[in-house]
C-alpha cells in the first residue's frame, strides 16, 4: 500500500507540469504585446524594451536555440517558461499588473472567503443529497422517488448565476430579509484568526457577528450547493440501488434486522465509495462555480477576484488563481483515490 501511495503521489508531478504548461500557453494566447498592454498605447519604444527585459518577455518561449549556437548552454535553458516555472517553485505567482501587489499575497487574503463558502456549500449539499438519495433508493418507484429524480435533474440543469439572481430578487429586494451581497455588514467586526468568519466569530464568542455572517453567507451557499446536491443525490440513489440488490442485504433483512440498521449499517457503508468519488469531483464544480456565485453576491473571494481581473485584463491574477484551483482539484481527487484504500479493504493495489 505504501508503494501504491508513493506511486500515485509521483504520478501527480507530470500532470502538474502539464497544467503549468497549459497555463503558460494561455499567456501566449493574449493578442498583442503584453509589454505594450502594461504601459498603454502611448509608451515609448525604450520603455517597452525596458519592460520586456524586466519581465523576461524578450526571452524565447521554451528554449533558446540561438544561445546554444553561440555556445551558451545555460542561456539555452533560460526561457520564459523555465523562468515562470522556477518562480512557481518559489511560490511566486507574479505581480498584479495594475496594483503591483504580489498575486500570492492577495490570494492568501481572499482564499479563506472562497474556502468558507465552498465548504459550507458542500456541507449543505451532503446534508441534502445523502439522506434524500437513501430515502429515494429505499422507496424505489414511489412518488418520493419520482419527485427526487425530477428534482435532481432540475438541480443539475440550474444555471446557478440565475438562481443567485432570483434569490437576491426574492429575499433581498422584495422581502428584504437578507442582504444582497458582501461578507459582513458595515460596522460589524470579527476578529480574524483563520479568516473563516463563521468559525472566527464562534471562537471569539461574537454572537451578533456570527448571525450577521450567517445572513450574508446563506444565499450564496444555497446557490452554489444546488448542482453538487443534485449530483450527490443521484449518485447516492443509484449506488444504494446497486447495493440493495446484494445477497447480504436480503440476508440481513431476512434475519429480522430493522430497516434502519440494514440501510445504514449494511447498505450505506458499501454504497459510499462511488459517492466519495463524486464528492471529490464536485470540489472542482464548487471552485469553478465560485466565479459565478461570488460575482453575483459580491463575495470577496478568489472567484470575484478572477472575474474583476478578467475584465481588467490583469492576466497574472487569472493565471495564478487558475493554477491554484487546478492544484486543489488534483489534490482532492488524489485524496479520494487514496481514501479508497482505507475505506475498502478489498481493494488492493500493486
Amino acid at each position: 500500500m505504501g508503494r501504491y501511495i508513493l506511486r500515485r503521489l509521483l504520478s501527480v508531478i507530470p500532470t502538474l507540469i502539464g497544467v503549468t504548461l497549459i497555463i503558460f500557453i494561455f499567456q501566449r494566447l493574449i493578442p498583442g504585446d503584453p509589454a505594450v498592454a502594461m504601459l498603454g498605447e502611448h509608451a515609448t519604444e525604450e520603455n517597452v524594451a525596458r519592460i520586456r527585459e524586466q519581465f523576461g518577455l524578450d526571452r524565447p518561449a521554451f528554449l533558446d536555440r540561438d544561445a546554444l549556437a553561440e555556445g551558451d548552454l545555460t542561456g539555452f535553458f533560460d526561457s520564459q517558461y523555465t523562468r515562470y516555472f522556477s518562480r512557481l517553485l518559489h511560490f511566486d505567482l507574479g505581480e498584479s499588473i495594475h496594483k503591483r501587489i504580489p498575486v500570492a499575497e492577495t490570494l492568501s487574503q481572499r482564499f479563506p472567503a472562497t474556502i468558507e463558502l465552498s465548504l459550507l456549500s458542500m456541507v449543505i449539499a451532503l446534508l441534502i443529497g445523502i439522506p434524500i438519495g437513501i430515502a429515494s433508493a429505499s422507496r424505489r418507484n414511489t412518488a418520493l422517488d419520482g419527485i427526487t429524480m425530477v428534482g435532481s435533474l432540475v438541480g443539475v440543469s440550474m444555471p446557478i448565476f440565475w438562481l443567485g439572481i432570483m434569490e437576491i430578487m426574492l429575499f433581498a429586494v422584495f422581502l428584504q430579509w437578507l442582504p444582497a451581497g458582501g461578507r459582513l455588514s458595515s460596522g460589524v467586526n470579527i476578529e480574524s484568526i483563520t479568516n473563516l468568519y463563521l468559525l472566527d466569530s464562534l471562537l471569539t464568542g461574537n454572537i451578533p457577528g456570527f448571525i450577521d455572517a450567517v445572513k450574508h453567507i446563506i444565499l450564496p451557499a444555497i446557490a452554489l450547493s444546488t448542482i453538487p446536491a443534485a449530483i450527490i443525490t443521484r449518485m447516492t440513489r443509484s449506488s444504494m440501488l446497486d447495493v440493495l440488490q446484494e445477497d447480504y442485504i436480503r440476508t440481513a433483512s431476512a434475519k429480522g434486522l430493522s430497516e434502519r440498521v440494514v440501510l445504514f449499517r449494511h447498505a450505506l457503508k458499501n454504497a459510499f465509495l462511488p459517492v466519495i468519488t463524486i464528492i471529490g469531483l464536485q470540489a472542482g464544480t464548487l471552485l469553478a462555480g465560485a466565479v459565478l456565485t461570488e460575482t453575483i453576491f459580491s463575495w470577496p473571494g478568489i472567484g470575484k477576484w478572477v472575474y474583476d481581473s478578467i475584465l481588467g485584463r490583469d492576466y497574472p491574477i487569472v493565471q495564478g488563481v487558475t493554477l491554484l484551483i487546478a492544484l486543489i482539484f488534483l489534490l482532492v481527487n488524489l485524496a479520494v483515490d487514496l481514501s479508497y484504500v482505507i475505506l475498502d479493504p478489498r481493494i488492493s493495489y500493486d
Binding site: P159, I165, Y315
Partner: protein
C-alpha cells in the same frame, strides 16, 4: 389446491413476430417513457422556435432601441395606453424580451451543437483509436505509421534546435526502419538497443556539428535518447497512454473554469466561446469512447471478425462503432445541455456573445444590475429559457440512456 392459470399460447404469433431493429426498439421504449417525452417536446419547441425565428422573424439587434418603452412589465392585453404588447416585458433599452429570448435560442443551440461537435469528433476519434490499439494488436502498416509519426514528432526537437528540417525525416526513417527490421527473421540477433541509439546520435550529432560544436553535442545526446526510444516498435498501448495522459491534464482543470480561462485570454466572443467549451469537452468523449471500445474489443464477434481476416478499418467501423454508439449518443445529448449552460455562464460574465447580440446569458448579465428597480421580468425569462432548454436535453438524455440500454437503469 390452486389450479395453475393456463394461458393459450399460439405458436404462430411468435413465428411471425415482426422484425424489430435495435433503433426502433429504443424509439418505442423512449416514447413509452413519460419524462423523456416531456424532454423531447421541450427540446423540439426550442429548436423549432429558434429556427423559425432565425429564418422568418427578422430581428436587427443593433437598431432595436426604444427608450420610451423602457422596463415595461409583462403585458398580455392591448389597451389604449399600451398599444404594443410585450408578454415578457421590456428591458432597460425598451427591447421586447420575448423577441430577444426567442432569437437568443438560436445562438444557444448553435453554441451547443458546434461545441459538442468539436468535442465529439476530436474526442471520439482519439478515444476510438486509443481503445482500438490498446485492445487489438497493430498490424504491420499501422505499426509503420505509428513509428514513423513517433520519429517525426521526436525528431522535431533536435531539428528545431539545429534549424535543420531534414533531421526530422532522418528520425522518421529510423522509426520506420525499426518496424521494417522486424520483417527479417535474423533481426532478432542484432543488438538493437546499441545500434539504434548510435545511429540516432550520429543523425543528430553530425549535422548539428556544422552549426556549432555545442549544438552538435546537444543534438547528439537527444539523438541517442530518441534512438533508444525507437529501437523497438512500440505497442498500441503506448499510443493510448500518450493520448490519455494528455487528456488527464485537461481534465485536471474544473471544466468550465478552463473554458472561462481560455476565453479570458482569447478575448470575448461567441465563436471563441464555442471553441473553448468544445476543447474542454474533448477528454470526456475520449475517455468514454476508449473504455467502450475496450469493453467491446474482446467480444466474440470482434474476435470472429479478426479470425476471418477482416481489415482493421472494417472491424472498427462495422463491428465496434455501431456497438458503442449508445453511450456516446447519451453523452452527446447531456453534453448539449452542458454546453448551453457553459455558454450562458460565459455570456453572463461578459465573455460570450458581444452585446447587443441576443443571448440568454448575456441578457441576464445585462439586466441583473437593475435588480433594485424591481424589474423581475428582465431576469426571470432569459434564465427560465436557459433552465428549461438545459432541463429538456437532460431529460431526453436520461430517457435515451434507459431506452438504449435497458439493462442499466441509473
Amino acid at each position: 389446491m390452486i389450479e395453475p392459470k393456463m394461458k393459450t399460447i399460439n405458436v404462430e404469433d411468435y413465428a411471425v413476430r415482426e422484425h424489430r431493429s435495435l433503433w426502433l426498439d429504443a424509439w418505442r421504449r423512449l416514447t413509452a417513457n413519460r419524462t423523456a417525452m416531456i424532454g423531447l417536446i421541450v427540446v423540439a419547441i426550442f429548436i423549432f422556435s429558434a429556427t423559425f425565428a432565425h429564418f422568418f422573424w427578422e430581428y436587427n439587434p443593433k437598431s432595436d432601441l426604444d427608450y420610451g418603452a423602457k422596463l415595461l412589465p409583462p403585458q398580455l392585453i392591448v389597451s389604449e395606453e399600451v398599444p404594443d404588447i410585450h408578454i415578457f416585458g421590456t428591458d432597460k433599452l425598451g427591447r421586447d424580451i420575448f423577441r430577444r429570448v426567442v432569437h437568443g435560442g438560436w445562438n444557444s443551440l448553435r453554441v451547443g451543437l458546434v461545441a459538442v461537435g468539436i468535442s465529439l469528433i476530436a474526442g471520439g476519434i482519439l478515444g476510438l483509436l486509443a481503445g482500438f490499439f490498446e485492445g487489438i494488436d497493430m498490424n504491420f502498416y499501422e505499426s509503420l505509421a505509428l513509428m514513423t509519426l513517433l520519429g517525426l514528432g521526436l525528431g522535431a526537437l533536435p531539428a528545431w534546435i539545429a534549424k535543420q528540417t531534414f533531421q526530422i525525416f532522418l528520425f522518421a526513417f529510423l522509426g520506420a526502419g525499426s518496424v521494417l527490421l522486424n520483417r527479417f527473421e535474423d533481426s532478432r540477433r542484432l543488438p538493437r538497443l546499441i545500434i539504434f541509439p548510435l545511429i540516432g546520435a550520429v543523425m543528430g550529432g553530425i549535422p548539428g556539428l556544422f552549426v556549432a560544436p555545442l549544438v552538435g553535442f546537444v543534438c547528439g545526446v537527444l539523438g541517442l535518447v530518441i534512438g533508444y526510444l525507437l529501437a523497438r516498435p512500440v505497442a498500441g498501448g503506448v499510443f493510448s497512454n500518450i493520448v490519455m495522459r494528455f487528456m488527464d491534464v485537461i481534465l485536471s482543470f474544473p471544466s468550465y473554469l478552463l473554458a472561462i480561462a481560455i476565453v479570458a485570454f482569447l478575448g470575448p466572443g461567441l465563436d471563441k466561446g464555442m471553441i473553448a467549451i468544445g476543447v474542454v469537452g474533448i477528454p470526456i468523449y475520449a475517455r468514454l469512447a476508449r473504455s467502450a471500445v475496450l469493453s467491446v474489443s474482446q467480444k466474440e464477434y470482434v474476435l470472429a471478425a479478426q479470425a476471418v481476416g477482416e481489415s482493421h478499418g472494417r472491424i472498427l467501423f462495422r463491428h465496434i462503432v455501431p456497438n458503442i454508439l449508445s453511450p456516446i449518443i447519451v453523452q452527446a445529448t447531456m453534453g448539449l445541455a452542458n454546453a448551453i449552460l457553459s455558454a450562458a455562464a460565459l455570456g453572463f460574465l461578459g465573455l460570450g456573445a458581444v452585446p447587443p447580440e441576443p443571448e440568454w446569458g448575456a441578457m441576464l448579465g445585462d439586466s441583473y444590475k437593475y435588480l433594485s428597480s424591481g424589474a423581475w421580468w428582465a431576469v426571470l425569462f432569459p434564465g427560465l429559457a436557459i433552465m428549461l432548454s438545459v432541463l429538456g436535453f437532460n431529460l431526453l438524455g436520461d430517457g435515451l440512456r434507459d431506452a438504449l440500454d435497458p439493462k442499466i437503469r441509473v
